[in-house]
């Protein structure tokens, strides 16, 4: 019970401190707008295949997540508040608080990306919306689950910004490939059961990542 309350408080603290500056939120929305317009301009008058468009959607989501999700721990180190946090609560409540904050952030972000992508890029036609939105949801949860522990790692390193995508890409690749595949199925109008295998992989990836992170976070945080 203590864990639930304290991680909820960490989540609240993150949201409050985010809304005080709105640094990440504004920058991320601009990032999304810029990348989607880049995609739009590069398409021009061409009509690319659904496969390419599903891939591009996940490229946009991946790089927005990479620029947004590392903030939680890096900001803590920059402000010099990590020591206070370490004194006040347990490592696992910090982990869960940050995980849920990342989850909220990336879910809002990828909903926004997917929505505007659908709206702006006319060639991208989704036929099975149930598969599409479930893929967006599970893909975002997977991104958050893997990047929380990686963000904690890179917050302690010297070159923070460039290191994050380098470390995250090989780990997130099974997730991204599966999500792209499921998105392609959604554009082809597949039935829900046909994408079941993809969802199983996504869910098992999330479970594996969160379990490993819970076991390892202590060592990173208390270092």
């Amino acid at each position: 019970m203590y864990l639930v309350i304290s991680s909820y408080q960490i989540l609240l603290k993150e949201i409050v401190s985010e809304f005080r500056t709105r640094y990440a939120l504004n920058a991320l929305i601009m990032f999304v707008v810029v990348t989607i317009s880049m995609v739009l301009f590069s398409i021009g008058t061409e009509s690319p295949s659904q496969d390419i468009l599903s891939g591009t959607l996940w490229i946009v989501i991946f790089f927005s997540a990479m620029s947004g999700l590392s903030r939680t721990f890096v900001a803590e180190e920059e402000r010099g508040t990590s020591l206070t946090l370490r004194l006040l609560t347990s490592a696992s409540s910090v982990y869960f608080g940050k995980l849920f904050y990342n989850l909220v952030l990336i879910l809002a972000l990828s909903m926004f990306i997917a929505g505007s992508y659908l709206f702006i890029i006319k060639e991208f036609i989704v036929k099975s919306y149930d598969i599409f939105w479930l893929t967006i949801f599970l893909g975002s949860v997977g991104l958050a689950s893997a990047s929380t522990i990686l963000a904690a790692i890179i917050a302690k390193a010297n070159t923070k910004g460039t290191l994050f995508p380098v470390l995250a890409f090989p780990i997130l690749l099974p997730l991204l490939l599966t999500a792209i595949n499921a998105t392609r199925l959604a554009t082809e109008g597949a039935f829900f059961v046909e994408a079941l295998q993809e969802f199983q992989i996504l869910i098992s990836f999330i479970i594996v990542m969160i379990t490993a992170s819970i076991m390892l976070f202590d060592y990173v945080w208390k270092d």
Binding site: L150, I154, A157, P174, V208, M209, A212, L216, V220
Partner: protein, 235 residues
């Protein structure tokens, strides 16, 4: 390592190379010193004696690096970190070798050096993981923090490996045996359909390369220990 083991490994691997390259391939093999011709593979089949053991040793090195990473986190003994990083360094060299031998085989068998077959994708990711591991290490100065964080990263990367070895080849059609669309069975471990004498040379090569790896590994660990001692003395 004992001297007899070193000489033994050298002789053993020389034997494997001589046998693997030297045994003639004939249509109807008779006796130990003749390999059967596999249609479609012909002389190129010899690469299995070198490519597969190197790829296997790459995985052994990766698992060892992860295992000593876990041991470091448990005990905080810096010696385990030296072992972990030695194993990862050797694993990276072996990974490059496996990629090169595989790419050459792919060129002559499938037509191009790289096809993004699921196994090729996996080894590419393994290379990326190794590279990221060393980039992470170079970005941290403090010795203990470097050891802890790189151990954590190697474990996090390690738990995703099953997705590549077991999940991806099931999903995508591939060229390697054991992929989706291959009629010869779908197991991650190939069904041993080799000729018995070829299998013996193959297993001998597997053993030889594994022992060679442990030899190189013990040399690397010893040199790392001495390097660290010298560094401490100079400080």
């Amino acid at each position: 390592m004992k001297l007899w083991l070193k000489i033994g490994t050298a002789v053993w691997l020389t034997g494997v190379i001589v046998l693997g390259l030297g045994i003639p391939m004939v249509k109807v093999p008779s006796g130990f010193f003749q390999f059967p011709i596999i249609p479609g593979l012909e002389e190129k089949a010899r690469n299995i004696i070198f490519h597969v053991p190197i790829a296997w040793t790459t995985v052994v090195a990766f698992v060892m690096a992860m295992w000593y990473g876990i041991q470091y986190l448990r005990t905080k003994d810096i010696d385990y970190d030296l072992r972990s990083v030695s194993s990862a360094g050797l694993g990276m060299v072996l990974c490059v070798l496996a990629t090169v031998t595989g790419a050459m085989w792919a060129k002559f068998n499938w037509g191009s050096f790289w096809n993004w077959d699921p196994r090729e994708t996996s080894i590419f990711i393994l290379l990326l993981i190794y590279a990221a591991y060393f980039v992470l290490r170079s970005a941290i100065e403090e010795e203990e923090r470097k050891a802890t964080l790189s151990s954590v990263y190697s474990i996090v990367a390690g738990v995703t490996v099953p997705f590549f070895i077991f999940v991806m080849p099931r999903m995508m059609a591939g060229l390697h045996p054991g992929s989706l669309g291959d009629s010869q069975g779908k197991g991650p471990v190939l069904q041993m359909k080799m000729a018995p004498n070829m299998l013996i040379v193959f297993l001998a090569s597997l053993l030889g390369f594994t022992i060679l790896y442990f030899w190189m590994y013990s040399l690397k660990v010893r040199s790392m220990r001495i390097e660290r001692q010298l560094q401490q003395q100079s400080e």
